[in-house]
């Protein structure tokens, strides 16, 4: 059983939901990321999504775009991201790490070399935004052969047929994008998410993490009640952006926000 499957299974048995933070690797500078990851674990997160910076992040809103630009200015790359993950793993054996990014850096490295390098870095899951299952079966097979979960996105307009397809090709969890739009957008509609989750549950047995539009403890709690996990990204990165002259302050504010989310998810607001 993969580290991701174990994590969701254990949470499920404890009646708890996964808190999944997303940060862009190397933002605001490369050495920031590993201590941030450990601090987030201490704040009670269950899985960490590491955003791999890309020059053309087509599905991301302005907050994550700028995080990518800051990281790229420090020459952050897919290879260096794997190095960051490896460093984290030296002192943490239990928290799953998922890479989230775009396909071209993987194309440039080569699928097989990437899969091998990800396995060496003990990466647990890979979510490639612009690689739908139609184009991604080869990549998914390479990852699965190395016990790495290929994770796929589902959207509000995904049909039952597509949900079944993701269920077949994906593993670990499915990432439900709770609104039509880019990351960091504001118009989260809880009733729509609730209705969609029923359709998702009817078509997959994989855990469902919900993201896009999670901003604070209240939205985290509300969303957590609907799915198996909550992904929070832009709200965290906004803290980094607001404190570029004082990254330790950013770290502190991120920890406080995640701790508040954890508390709300476990105990109610």
């Amino acid at each position: 059983m993969s580290r991701l499957a174990n994590t969701f299974e254990a949470l499920n048995q404890a009646g708890r939901k996964a808190l999944v933070p997303f940060i862009t690797v190397g933002d605001p500078y490369p050495e920031f990321t590993v201590p941030m990851m450990h601090a987030m674990v201490e704040a009670g997160v269950d899985v960490i999504e590491l955003g791999v910076p890309f020059s053309d992040p087509m599905a991301d809103g302005p907050v994550i775009q700028r995080a990518s630009e800051r990281a790229l200015a420090h020459k952050m790359s897919l290879r260096r991201t794997l190095g960051v993950a490896m460093e984290f793993r030296r002192t943490n054996q239990h928290t799953p790490v998922v890479l989230m990014g775009y396909l071209n850096p993987i194309e440039a490295m080569g699928y097989e070399e990437f899969a091998n390098a990800a396995a060496r870095a003990e990466i647990d899951g890979v979510l490639t935004v612009d690689l739908p299952p139609e184009e991604g079966e080869h990549c998914a097979a390479l990852l699965k052969a190395r016990d790495i979960d290929p994770i796929f996105l589902l959207a509000p307009n995904s049909s039952a047929e597509r949900i079944q397809k993701m269920d077949a090709v994906g593993s670990g969890y499915l990432y439900y994008v709770s609104l039509k739009g880019v990351t960091g957008a504001g118009h989260l509609d809880i009733d729509n998410v609730k209705a969609k989750l029923e359709q998702l549950r009817a078509n997959t047995r994989l855990p469902v993490a919900i993201g896009f539009g999670v901003k604070d403890a209240i939205t985290a709690k509300t969303i957590a009640d609907l799915g198996d996990g909550v992904v929070v990204g832009s709200a965290l990165i906004s803290k980094i952006e607001a404190n570029l002259d004082n990254p330790e302050q950013a770290k502190q504010e991120i920890i406080e926000l995640l701790a508040a989310m954890r508390h709300a998810m476990d105990n109610g607001v």
Binding site: F54, S55, D56, P57, M58, A59, G61, P62, Q65, E69, L72, S77, L78, R79, Y102, L103, N104, P105, I106, E107, A108, M109, V129, D130, L131, P132, E134, E135, F152, L153, L154, A155, P156, N157, S158, S159, R162, V177, K180, G181, V182, A185
Partner: protein, 406 residues
Amino acid sequence: MKQLIKMTEKYTMPDARGHFGPYGGMFVAETLIPPIQELNAAYQRYLDDPDFIAELDKDLQYYVGRPSPLYHAERWSRELGGAQIYLKREDLNHTGSHKINNTVGQALLAKRMGKTRIIAETGAGQHGVATATVAARLGLECVVYMGAVDVARQSLNVYRMKLLGATVVAVESGSKTLKDALNEALRDWVTNVDNTFYIIGTVAGPHPYPAMVRDFQAIIGREAKQQYFDATGRLPDALVACVGGGSNAIGLFYPFIDASSVKLIGVEAAGDGIATGRHSAPLSAGRPGVLHGNRTYLMADDDGEIIETHSISAGLDYPGVGPEHAWLKDTGRAQYVSITDNEALDGFYALTRMEGIIPALESSHAMAYAMKLAPTMRQDQTLIINLSGRGDKDMQTMAKREGIEL
């Protein structure tokens, strides 16, 4: 779309999922899968729908002004002393370039699909103007994304778009050019998928765009083939067209792909020179990768990050190229060369002074290559160059280079 002589039959690319060999495909985020499938279904349906074709033909004739002439540039041919040069006059179309062939087609599709809002990306502004034009005519809301750098260097076209009622959004992210405009248009589309039709201006993007835009632009090659055949009873020896995304080139090439005696030559922008790294020539000096929904040749570094490009012409300033060109390159059916900014200027002045036709800076790249190629050919051989757009939009750029204040 009447076909009087044999066009393309043996060549059947792309496959059902939009692949040209290893290139093309549908590399998009999940939210875009349903609208792309909806678009593909509509496109497949109307491609063979007699009502749709009749409406499109009528618009192309009475609104765009087709057929465009195939003009024998006799003085310039004599001056160069080699092949006979023919110009396919896409510069004479309504709005001044070949871009309108595609926007008329996609706008008719949008109307039939019940979409009320049109978005587009633009580089030089020719596609933006062509989109704003058809949106005005059909009474559709129109938003055009344009890199902030391009907004500054193509201000005339920005004004034209605004006159036509479009909202022009200056994109400030990344390199602030065409690729960033495309990113932003994709973000808009993800957010407004229900009522919005995205008119992509070139043969890039996810399937079905590369094939669909090609099919709308193939009118260029069909006409040229027929016109040249009517005049001479034979086929030309070579075709030359500039390649940014590659829509005018594929439009000219496509009906000739089966005719193996006809050389197909695409001209990329070498900018300051390929060796300087400051260029926009992915087929000449790039590598395969995935960007904007398809696999193709790209300008990217060893980490797969997209490199900033350069060309004197905003319309060629793009790090990718249509996936069908990647396929035609690998199979050897077409060859791709490059022309520097300075060489393009030579082409610009030559056509202006020899034939009294001011070409767009994009098309000037094709002219410049023809100046190299024609003298190496016999006088009984023929070169058709796609004059894809007129130079009016470039007057400010040119005057500035000459130190003249307009």
